[in-house]
């Protein structure tokens, strides 16, 4: 069942599990499809980041690495924030091989808080909405 207050996604790839594992855990590859650049070490506790040209850089921390099966990291909601577990969300990647040689990916992001509950960070959220508004305006003009 879908967990309340979290996001669950499931997708099947024709690529085998080794390939998918590589694509989601190698910073070089993650930088090619997730954002524009990623930096982290593949070990629990490593602090790293994801970067988007448009949105900025988001701090993350690797939580669990179970090769080929499970990869989990936490990340901050707002760009430029130092890592703070209590204000992060958890992103979990579960992989399993399917009979056809492909790979099933289950993705979950959990631990959301509404911006109103984070009074210490209202400014950051507002700044980001401003960025978002700018982004939406830019893209509607192009």
């Amino acid at each position: 069942m879908k967990a309340l207050g979290s996001i669950d996604k499931e997708i099947h790839f024709k690529a085998d599990i080794d390939r998918v594992w590589q694509a989601i855990t190698s910073p070089e590859e993650v930088g090619q499809w997730f954002g524009q650049k990623a930096s982290f070490e593949l070990r629990a506790g490593s602090i790293g980041w994801f970067r988007w040209d448009k949105y900025g850089q988001f701090t993350m921390r690797v939580e669990v690495v179970e090769p080929k099966n499970y990869f989990a990291w936490r990340w901050m909601a707002n760009k430029g924030e130092a890592f703070d577990e209590s204000a992060s969300t958890l992103v979990e990647w579960r992989l399993r091989s399917t009979r056809d040689g492909g790979t099933q990916l289950q993705l979950r992001e959990s631990g959301f808080r509404s911006p109103a509950s984070r009074e210490d960070n209202v400014g950051g959220w507002k700044a980001e909405l401003q960025d978002l508004t700018t982004f939406l305006e830019d893209s509607s003009h192009s």
Binding site: M1, A3, L4, G5, S6, I7, K9, I11, F13, K14, A15, R19, V20, A23, I24, E29, Q32, W33, F34, W52, K54, Y55, G56, F58, W75, M76, A77, N78, K79, T89, L105, L107, E109, G111, F112, R113, S114, P115, A116, S117, W125, E128, L129, D131, L132, T133, F135, L136
Partner: protein, 122 residues
């Protein structure tokens, strides 16, 4: 992550005064379980909930139920000496709406991953 690509983000987050209670309320596994039970049953009394969760004290259950009521997730109704609880799904719907842009973000990222893996090459 909040840099979502949905036009409705700013509008929705402005009326989020109530939302924070829901996130905090739902952060607890027991309360999520109780809500799931109420999705299956029309109404439940404290006694019935206690039977479903024998590990919890009556006091503990009452505390969880009070928090769920405060968050607007439960409606209560007196029936004789019993208090019946019913799920109010409206705040959950609002929560889902709030999460929609985040879900969209992941749809896009996963599409991008599929393309990266060459899934679209035939």
């Amino acid at each position: 992550m909040s840099c979502m690509l949905d036009n409705n983000v700013s509008r929705k987050t402005k009326k989020q005064g109530k939302g924070m209670d829901i996130f905090q309320t739902l952060a607890d596994q027991t309360r999520r379980n109780i809500l799931d039970s109420l999705r299956r049953e029309e109404t439940l009394s404290i006694k019935q909930i206690a039977q479903l969760y024998p590990d919890l004290s009556r006091q503990g259950i009452t505390k969880h139920l009070d928090l769920l009521v405060k968050a607007g997730l439960l409606q209560t109704q007196r029936l004789g000496r019993e208090r019946l609880h019913r799920l109010n799904a409206k705040p959950l719907k609002e929560l889902d709406d709030w999460l929609t842009p985040y879900a969209k973000f992941w749809d896009e990222r996963l599409e991008s991953l599929a393309a990266h893996l060459g899934e679209n090459d035939k």
